[in-house]
């Protein structure tokens, strides 16, 4: 992605139009350019300016002759401005070789411009609870016994309860693609925030003696996602998220003598930086369902 940002925008922009007509249009007179700027609804709406509250706009007096061609500009298919977004999802952790982890997620955002939102998201990993078959070690991958047998190594593993984050979402990219005669609008967004993550070491090295409570860790996250509009209020989305926090794991050494029952010796002395990279897939519902374009006169 770095090359996207390293490409000089001004040099690129001249090549970025989508039709030859548009390229020709750029070479028109300054008076014509001024006319285009006044009527560029997409740019105004996408910039997040509150045209709804500004009310009707009086056209400026015409001082120069305008070009006779009129270019129709399609409206943005679905506005996000001043709408709530509800997003249930499922999360699959990608990079834990020892345990399979699945989360149920829910996110809520408020779009205070058309490209910027503030919201929260919640991921619940302990949804299976204490029922039979819900022991986290039952979700272990086949690499765990291989490591134990072949290298005589124990693997300290933590269970996760839930995570809760406050996030900003920014939409730098939007576009549309065609599937036969259907045109789908999509956008890509960047997301990031801070919150907390609840985790608990699973006693592996001395389970007869050790037991652990849930710990609350300060966490943060970054990610990027893709949203495809199925209707003006319903979308399908998938996102890549990296949730990160410093975590405490079980001590792989058992203290001799009375120290064995001392809970102060049960955890490793330092924290380990955990990066949970995951894919989340879900749908979003924009509320209110309907919205109105406010057009300048």
């Amino acid at each position: 992605m770095a090359a996207f940002w390293l490409t000089p925008p001004l040099a690129v922009q001249a090549q970025m139009e989508f039709s030859l007509d548009e390229v020709d249009e750029e070479e028109a007179t300054p008076a014509k350019k001024k006319q285009e700027n006044q009527g560029d609804l997409i740019e105004e709406l996408a910039a997040g300016e509150d045209t709804a509250s500004d009310g009707p706009v009086e056209p400026e007096p015409q001082r120069e002759e305008i070009a006779e061609e009129i270019y129709a500009v399609q409206q943005i298919y679905a506005l996000r401005l001043k709408r709530f977004e509800m997003a249930p999802s499922v999360a699959f952790t990608l990079n834990d070789p020892y345990l399979k982890r699945y989360g149920l997620g829910f996110a809520m955002n408020y779009w205070f411009t058309n490209v910027l939102a503030l919201g929260v998201n919640f991921n619940w990993y302990d949804w299976c609870g204490q029922r039979a078959g819900c022991n986290p070690l039952d979700r272990g991958t086949d690499i765990v016994p291989r490591i134990q047998n072949q290298f005589r190594l124990g693997v300290p593993v933590n269970d996760w309860q839930f995570g809760l984050w406050v996030n900003f979402t920014y939409v730098p990219f939007y576009g549309k693609f065609k599937v036969r005669k259907k045109i789908f609008q999509w956008d890509a967004y960047l997301i990031g925030g801070v919150g907390l993550m609840r985790t608990q070491p699973i006693p592996v090295f001395d389970p007869e003696v050790r037991s652990f409570d849930w710990n609350t860790n300060v966490a943060f996250n970054v990610g990027a996602g893709l949203r495809i509009f199925l209707t003006r209020y319903l979308t399908f989305f998938t996102e890549f998220r990296a949730y990160m926090w410093p975590d405490k794991f079980e001590n792989d050494r058992v203290a001799p003598g009375p120290g064995r029952t001392d809970s102060a010796t049960w955890l490793q002395s330092g924290s380990t930086f955990v990066a949970n990279t995951s894919i989340q897939i879900g749908i979003t519902l924009f509320l209110p369902i309907k919205f109105e374009y406010r057009l300048p006169k």
């Binding site: 992605m1 090359a3 996207f4 490409t7 925008p9 690129v12 922009q13 090549q15 970025m16 139009e17 989508f18 039709s19 030859l20 007509d21 740019e43 996408a46 910039a47 298919y77 699959f92 952790t93 990608l94 990079n95 834990d96 070789p97 399979k100 490209v115 991958t141 690499i143 291989r146 490591i147 047998n149 072949q150 290298f151 005589r152 190594l153 730098p172 990219f173 939007y174 576009g175 549309k176 693609f177 065609k178 599937v179 036969r180 005669k181 259907k182 045109i183 789908f184 609008q185 999509w186 890509a188 509009f229 199925l230 209707t231 955990v274 990066a275 949970n276 990279t277 894919i279 897939i281």
Partner: protein, 291 residues
């Protein structure tokens, strides 16, 4: 924590493939029940093609794409790859191509480092781990890559970046066959018996020489993937590509079936996959457009 669980990736790939099939099946239906943007045009544009002056980025053009890639989901060793790809498109949505790359560097995963630092060798696992210090020498590595693939471009469109930069973009789905240069630990048998190994080839060697012995072969496997391409000029674009190549090899250099010997029976299925970033150069540089 930095490795990708291959089963999870496989599951996600299946979900993505299912979603792709559903989207395409929906698009192929004649019954227009999809409530995405359905453009009903009246007036002078009625009956006109959905896109006019469409730029044909691929039709009868050659794409040359040098790329940098790295493997993901590796258990013991990652590969950093430099390579190139050549594609020719008969149609704007269909083409054929070949690719190749060389692993210019390999990176041991945290698990390999943990074993190197903390692994314990006994007679019960001497065949699997002759010495912990030499463990990185016994893991399987992927040295070179190549393949031929058929490319489909079902989606194309345009996108705006920061409401200032506009580019044409498309999604390229491909499937084919790959040829991968695999380097694994050479065949060896633990003596005198499985589970009580004191030497491998010669009495007293402790299996240490076998830890560094290597065998090379070429693995043939299916390959498939998806790429997002953005075109900045008539002859230059950028490609972000994910490619999956599942095949079996002995990643850990260990006796995985516990039969007392290391050989081809110890190979485990791996969902090898990589992510690459490439720069697309197109020939001829002049682009054609539709009416």
């Amino acid at each position: 924590m930095m490795m990708l669980a291959r089963q999870t990736l496989l599951r996600i790939s299946l979900v993505a493939a299912l979603a792709l099939v559903l989207v395409m099946a929906e698009g192929l239906q004649s019954d227009n029940r999809v409530s995405a943007q359905d453009v009903h045009v009246t007036g002078p544009l009625a009956g006109a093609p959905s896109v006019m002056n469409q730029r044909l980025w691929r039709e009868m053009r050659l794409h040359v794409e040098p790329f940098f890639a790295f493997t993901i989901a590796d258990e013991y060793s990652r590969s950093l790859i430099v390579g190139g790809e050549l594609r020719f498109h008969f149609l704007d949505w269909l083409g054929i191509g070949g690719w190749g790359g060389y692993s210019v560097a390999t990176l041991d995963t945290n698990l390999t480092k943990e074993i190197r630092d903390k692994g314990v060798t006994t007679n019960a696992n001497r065949l699997d781990l002759p010495s912990r210090e030499g463990y990185p020498n016994q893991v399987g590595r992927l040295n070179w890559w190549s393949g031929v693939e058929l490319h489909f471009v079902p989606f194309r469109g345009k996108l705006a970046m920061f409401q200032k930069i506009f580019v044409d973009a498309d999604i390229d789905v491909f499937v084919g066959a790959a040829f991968v240069g695999v380097e694994e630990r050479a065949d060896v048998t633990g003596q005198p018996s499985p589970g009580n190994v004191t030497y491998c080839d010669q009495v007293g060697d402790g299996c240490l020489p076998s830890q560094d012995a290597r065998a090379k072969r070429t693995a043939i496997a299916p390959s498939f993937g998806i790429a997002f391409n953005a075109f900045f000029k008539e002859f230059v674009g950028l490609a972000f590509r994910w490619r999956g190549i599942p095949f079996k090899y002995n990643t850990s250099g260990t006796d995985n079936n516990r039969d007392g010997q290391i050989n081809s029976d110890d190979r485990l299925r791996q969902f090898n996959n990589m992510f690459s970033v490439g720069v697309i150069f197109t020939l001829p540089p002049k682009i054609k457009t539709t009416d």
